[in-house]
């Protein structure tokens, strides 16, 4: 870890230089640049107030809130099954993954466990939505760096996954398929074989991206050594998901704290970490995660048990009094719901812990002292989704 501490020292030196920077030669003042709310590098309506000295960033201030929809409050006036369809819209690219922690939190309070078949299908769909989300990240990363081809390939190959999600849930983006105590419906005939074909295509897509983007010298020059986040800083800012694994912290909720209701322990897979802490390592981790997700899906498809898909659940769902926090490893990181129930039809209070809000909170720290084009790289590699920040 000596290389890392050297880099850490360099980073802190660069930060100090940026802090004390006064342009004595020209006695110029800094320039304020508004990136957003509609900047293409921000995946939505995040506004970043960047103060510049020439080409260098003195400070970057993200201003979320342009897309705030008040989900925590909306959840309080809706019944438990109705909330499922709302929380789909938090992270709209991997929407099935948003439902799962909500359902698991409600199941934890009610003391219900879904039948094994439902748990398997739930995990498979969870990983499919991870693939749909992360494959778009890989394409988007190329678009941010000027390689539009990868973007087109990503949109093309994401369609294979979305078609599988649509065939079983009926919705490409908003499945609304998870229910308290099980699933809405069972798999249609021929789905398992089709999904295996789609997984082959996703693996081919990962190889393609590796050749096209990750092997490209320009891409490596623009991402390696850029946006360094040392592990202790990543931990103190509460990063999660691929961002913290890209900083070399071996932490994955799927393996370390898998809540009951998901069957990740039944498959053989690996958590990837990368010690480089830069934009490249974060992107590379996501590429490897897509590959691991195809492996998980393949293994689980082979071993789906037969049986019912719904546990015995009352027709009118009332969650008993109590509190529960359930977090899962979503495509963007740790997503959790803190659910307080007073025994009514509606939840009393819901706190949504979404990954992107914490991931974007490191932007002021990491963007200090970098050059303007690197801000784009860093934002793209942190990978946030605006619905996930603002909720």
């Amino acid at each position: 870890m000596t290389a890392l501490s050297d880099r850490e020292q360099l980073t802190s030196l660069a930060n100090q230089a940026a802090d004390s920077r006064v342009n004595l030669e020209f006695e110029t003042e800094g320039m304020t640049l508004n990136m957003g709310p509609q900047h293409p590098a921000t995946h939505g309506t995040l506004r970043i107030l960047v103060k510049l000295d020439g080409e260098q960033v003195i400070s970057a201030d993200p201003m979320p809130g342009y897309m705030h929809r008040g989900y925590e409050k909306l959840c309080e006036v809706r019944t438990y099954p109705q909330v499922t369809t709302l929380v789909n819209r938090i992270d709209w690219l991997g929407s099935f993954a948003n439902e799962v922690p909500w359902i698991l939190a409600a199941e934890k309070l009610m003391g219900i466990e879904a039948p094994p078949r439902a748990q398997y299908i739930r995990t498979i769909l969870f990983e499919l939505s991870r693939m749909a989300n992360v494959s778009l990240f890989l394409g988007d990363l190329g678009i941010q760096l000027g390689g539009i081809t990868v973007g087109f390939y990503a949109f093309r190959d994401r369609e294979h996954v979305l078609n599988q999600i649509e065939a079983v849930t009926g919705g490409r983006f908003h499945p609304n398929f998870d229910r308290i105590g099980g699933l809405k419906d069972d798999l249609p005939k021929g789905w398992i074989a089709e999904t295996k074909k789609a997984m082959e295509k996703m693996r081919a897509f990962c190889d393609e991206v590796e050749d096209l983007l990750f092997g490209n010298e320009i891409f490596q020059k623009r991402t390696r050594g850029i946006g360094l986040i040392p592990p202790h800083v990543a931990q103190s800012y509460g990063l999660s998901g691929a961002n913290i694994r890209g900083s070399g912290v071996d932490w994955d909720l799927r393996r370390d704290a898998c809540p009951p209701g998901l069957v990740y322990d039944k498959a053989d897979w690996k958590v990837w970490t990368h010690p480089d802490c830069d934009s490249f390592s974060r992107s590379w981790i996501r590429l490897q995660e897509t590959r691991e997700a195809t492996k998980i899906v393949d293994q689980l498809l082979d071993s789906i048990p037969s049986g019912p898909i719904m546990a015995k659940v009352p027709r009118i769902i009332k969650v008993p009094e109590g509190e529960a926090y359930v977090a899962t490893e979503n495509p963007l990181g740790e997503m959790g719901y803190y659910l307080v129930s007073k025994g009514d039809l509606n939840p009393f209070r819901v706190k949504i812990r979404s990954a992107s809000f914490n991931n974007v909170s490191i932007v002021p720290w990491v963007c200090k002292g970098v050059y303007v084009p690197d801000v784009i790289t860093i934002l793209a590699s942190l990978y946030f989704i605006l619905g996930d920040i603002d909720r």
Binding site: T85, R156, E166, D186, L212, S306
Partner: protein
């Protein structure tokens, strides 16, 4: 520790150009290995969505008893139902006349609908179905309020339910009529 990233033998940019060239050749002619164009020119050709796709809600009016469950469960309350009671003639001779509900109005406002499918799921009499049709955009937002005649027309496009994958214990439902 992840494997060390080896420096590619071929320069990465040339390798990338090889990938794009391969894709270009691949999309020229349709073949059995998934070649050919990946898009369809929409107004002339159509992609068929999956049979379960949630396109538009269809109403089978005969089954509806105006119980208002769908209207209550809807997360954004976009289903409007009005009904009245009437006395139907008895089934057998000498029996009592039966009190029945007749639908006056059943409208779904598709400009509000989130296509979540809760109404279809909660309907105890199986009067609501999903149709995978998706071409019902309008110039005026008022026209997205589909009344019961329009919803009844969608019913003709409802596909049969698919059989389930092996190992399932679900029963395949049937579309009436």
């Amino acid at each position: 520790m992840p494997p060390k990233f080896e420096k590619p033998q071929v320069p990465g940019m040339i390798k990338g150009l090889g990938v794009t060239f391969k894709e270009m050749v691949n999309t020229l002619k349709p073949d059995s290995k998934g070649g050919g164009p990946v898009t369809v020119s929409y107004p002339r050709e159509r992609e068929e969505p999956a049979p379960r796709a949630r396109g538009v809600i269809a109403l089978y009016e005969e089954n509806c008893t105006a119980c208002m469950l769908c209207s209550r469960e809807c997360p954004d309350w976009c289903i409007y139902i009005e009904a009245h009671k009437y006395l139907a003639p008895p089934r057998r001779e000498g029996g009592k006349p039966r009190a029945k509900n007749a639908l006056d109005r059943f409208s779904i406002d598709f400009s509000l609908c989130m296509y979540c499918g809760i109404c279809v799921e909660v309907c105890p009499f199986e009067a609501l179905y999903w149709s995978p049709e998706y071409e019902f955009s309008e110039f005026n937002i008022k026209d997205l309020l589909h009344d019961k005649e329009r919803l009844g027309e969608w019913f003709e496009t409802v596909p049969a339910f698919e059989p389930y994958e092996a190992g399932s214990e679900q029963k395949v439902k049937k579309v009436p009529g």
